[in-house]
Symmetry: C2
């Protein structure tokens, strides 16, 4: 145990998207920073176990299924037999290595001290860090250090929940941190939990040729989505070869001698598959932080509660990212952390806009920002809908996307854009066109008047707006097409 | 010859993007419309000889080169030997057929009378249409009809120029209307003229494996582009296997007995290739219109001059699209036609915003809107640049785009966004995020404050903005990353 703590303006716990942005932001204020990460890899779940690996695998799946749907005659495309997931991820390993190196360099250039180890609070201003030896360096030390922070940011992220019913470690049972260790694409697979992670992996594995079963205790897919989009996604996923088991609960999980898994459901039916992905939600990584020493409480699943400035109940201790719960996206985590640090160093900053786009990398992909029809009805706001399908668009035809559509919601009284919903190729990119319009409180006019490149999917905004105006009957819409 | 003319509120000459939008717009005003097209296919160059076919072929090329660059281990992808272009275009034929049918239905539902034939003016209000028999219907008539329009819109498009030096009809010499009739991907190919069309086809054929030579009388690629983007495109195209011949003019063109072509240059050198694409500009389709009968003059290459309302020198005769020249894009043509019709029927409409995005489907693709560094310097406007490369972005890493970058130009005094330049995958789509910001006169703040989906290319806007702010030194930028 070291004696005197090293003192910093900001101590950051966690080197994921939130922690990295926090360090960069603090360096802009010329503040001294220590960053503690529990792994020898920076980037957090975003880079190392979540976003990037799963999206890299999805690229392969998309290329396979996308090329098929585009009917590119003249091109032979086939999956090599007996291919392993790590074959697919050869490229991803590079991406990861590049990012880890980039992050480390950025931290160095922001003059942040980086400690790889397990942090726990000693008092509200001090954490003890049990250093972890670097597996790549034989002589690296495993002592501990004390860090004192004028301000502390907790950004330790979250981990998959592993319900007791599933005997992890035996047979082919995985969570989202381990699923990419699969040797082969399983012939049959069950994903338990049809949240974002379960749905995304279900789509990727189905596109890679697995027979996928998606099991959920509810009867609606991703209920925060606009109802029409959620329904369209179910239809598209079913067409992609996914079988949904709604209102179903796993009652028992049996490992067969072959390592295959039989799931027995509360309804009395059962299902035997080559592999199971348990996607039963995530819990905040707060157990080892000894938060009570700082006087910080947690809610269920270890969640830390924060105010609008991302302060915990202890004013100089902030928290951001997955550790504070919904929406728990890399994008929002970074914004939260940036705002927390700006606030910590006494700058005024506006509250984070509630206009947070949500991007879901299912196949087809889905994105939304703002209100849904359901939320508008609840609020009693009268609205009009403008909807247009990808197949009415030249680019949509070229790429052969038959499922995609864009749906715009305008307030009826002044035609302000209040919600954007997209399902289909590039949904997570083109959503930002609507986001810009919403951030500037634009009305239908902006899409009527704007000139869009052709052939693009972006011009769907114009077509959908024309459809909305036409649905009003008057004033005469300026009909356009794409 | 018919006797009494049929009378309409609007007679539209040309069934391309401009003509089709004009008909739809007029129908919103409950006006009677006749539309004349010289082919039995609607959609104009956009659908039938230009945009859609070339972009469909490009999809295949992209899939091949894109997958290669993404290093998707585990996937075998190969071009079938001896594949023909029409194999590639099997899908495109469907797209074309779908669009033709859709357009015809839309015209019917707008109660427009459609005439397939050659129109020529009889007087300023009347055109005679020599009907063309439908090749698919044996008993269709070939008489002529007279159409009288209270208003007339000329939207007859443009055709490739065929300089005399090239003996079209002999050997392997093509223009952009005929290049897709090529039997096979040529082993070697020359494109004469490095404009948009020449550059786009050069990239597609190079990606399909041809050795491509691009010949131009100038020394700058697409000089309307931002200089840095133009230069980056040259580098990327050269890496893609294209050889540029700058400041070079074809002096003589010789067809060899094998049908191969030898080009002899003014510089004294020569080049023998399997096929030549002549992309020496386009001329307006006005020769057969007998414009003098209406009192309308034309400029060089048959161009019709119009005012800001798209009126010719005869006030009730409008013109829109390629026939009036630059920028001659499907996107701008549609907007011009819509505005012309709204004006014709006495509605107020704002002038077309000068913020016209430009999308170029080279490989990599390029898009821009607003000012370039060069135009800002000329105008004496002080600016700051924010630039970020795709490879610093998680999505850019996943897709393996090493050439791409986004460059934002902000006015220094108030940080208003005044120009957006992108080279790389999805350039023509993500440009519209910047377009929305420019249409709403937004400043750097909008990208600092907005939350973008991760991993997307769209978040490059945030990274580039941070780079611009950092380059100013103060006020302290809120550093972010993607």
């Amino acid at each position: 145990m070291a004696n005197e703590p090293k003192t910093y303006d900001l101590v950051i716990l966690g080197g994921g998207p939130a922690g990295l942005i926090a360090a960069a932001t603090a360096s802009v204020f010329h503040k001294s920073v220590a960053l503690v990460d529990a792994h020898h890899e920076l980037g957090g779940a975003g880079i190392n176990t979540g976003t990037v690996p799963s999206k890299t695998l999805r690229e392969t799946a998309l290329a396979l299924s996308g090329l098929k749907s585009r009917k590119l005659y003249g091109v032979d495309l086939s999956l090599r037999r007996a291919v392993t997931i790590s074959d697919f991820l050869g490229h991803e390993q590079n991406v990861r290595a590049i990012f880890n190196e980039t992050y480390l360099k950025r931290l160095e250039s922001s003059r942040a001290d980086v400690f790889f180890g397990i942090a726990s609070f000693v008092d509200p201003h001090t954490v003890s860090v049990q250093l972890i030896p670097d597996p790549k360096q034989k002589d690296s030390s495993s002592e501990s250090v004390l860090l004192r922070g004028e301000n502390i940011l907790i950004a330790t992220g979250s981990s998959p929940v592993r319900p007791d019913i599933f005997p992890f470690g035996k047979g082919e049972i995985y969570d989202s941190d381990t699923i990419l260790n699969l040797d082969r694409i399983p012939k049959t697979m069950a994903a338990v939990g049809a949240g974002v992670i379960g749905s995304e992996y279900a789509c990727t594995f189905a596109a890679l040729g697995a027979e996928v079963h998606l099991i959920d205790g509810r009867d609606t897919l991703l209920p925060f989505l606009d109802e029409e989009i959620s329904h369209a996604l179910v239809v598209a996923m079913e067409r992609g070869g996914i079988t949904f088991h709604w209102n179903e609960k796993v009652h028992e999980c049996e490992i067969l001698p072959s390592s295959r898994v039989t799931l027995k459901f509360a309804s009395g039916t059962s299902l035997t598959v080559d592999a199971v992905l348990v996607a039963a939600g995530r819990k905040s990584n707060t157990e080892r932080l000894n938060l009570q020493a700082a006087g910080i409480g947690t809610a269920e699943r270890g969640l830390i509660k924060v105010d609008e400035q991302y302060r915990t109940n202890i004013p100089h201790v902030y928290a951001a990212g997955d550790v504070i719960g919904f929406p728990a996206l890399a994008s929002t985590s970074m914004e939260q952390a940036r705002r927390a640090v700006v606030h910590a160093f006494g700058r005024k900053i506006s509250n984070l806009s509630p206009l947070l786009p949500n991007g879901i990398y299912t196949i087809p992909e889905v994105s939304m920002v703002g209100e849904t029809e359901e939320s508008l009805r609840k609020k009693g706001i009268d609205y009009i809908v403008g909807c247009t399908r990808y197949e009415n668009n030249a680019r949509g035809q070229i790429i052969g996307d038959k499922d995609g559509f864009l749906k715009l919601l305008f307030r009826r009284d002044d035609l302000t854009l209040v919600g954007v919903h997209v399902i289909g190729e590039l949904a997570t990119e083109i959503i930002h066109i609507g986001l810009m319009a919403m951030l500037t409180k634009s009305t239908a006019d902006i899409f009527v008047e704007a000139c869009f490149n052709v052939p693009t999917l972006s011009v769907l905004y114009k077509t959908a707006t024309m459809a909305a105006l036409q649905s009003m009957g008057e004033p005469p819409p300026m009909a356009a097409s794409s």
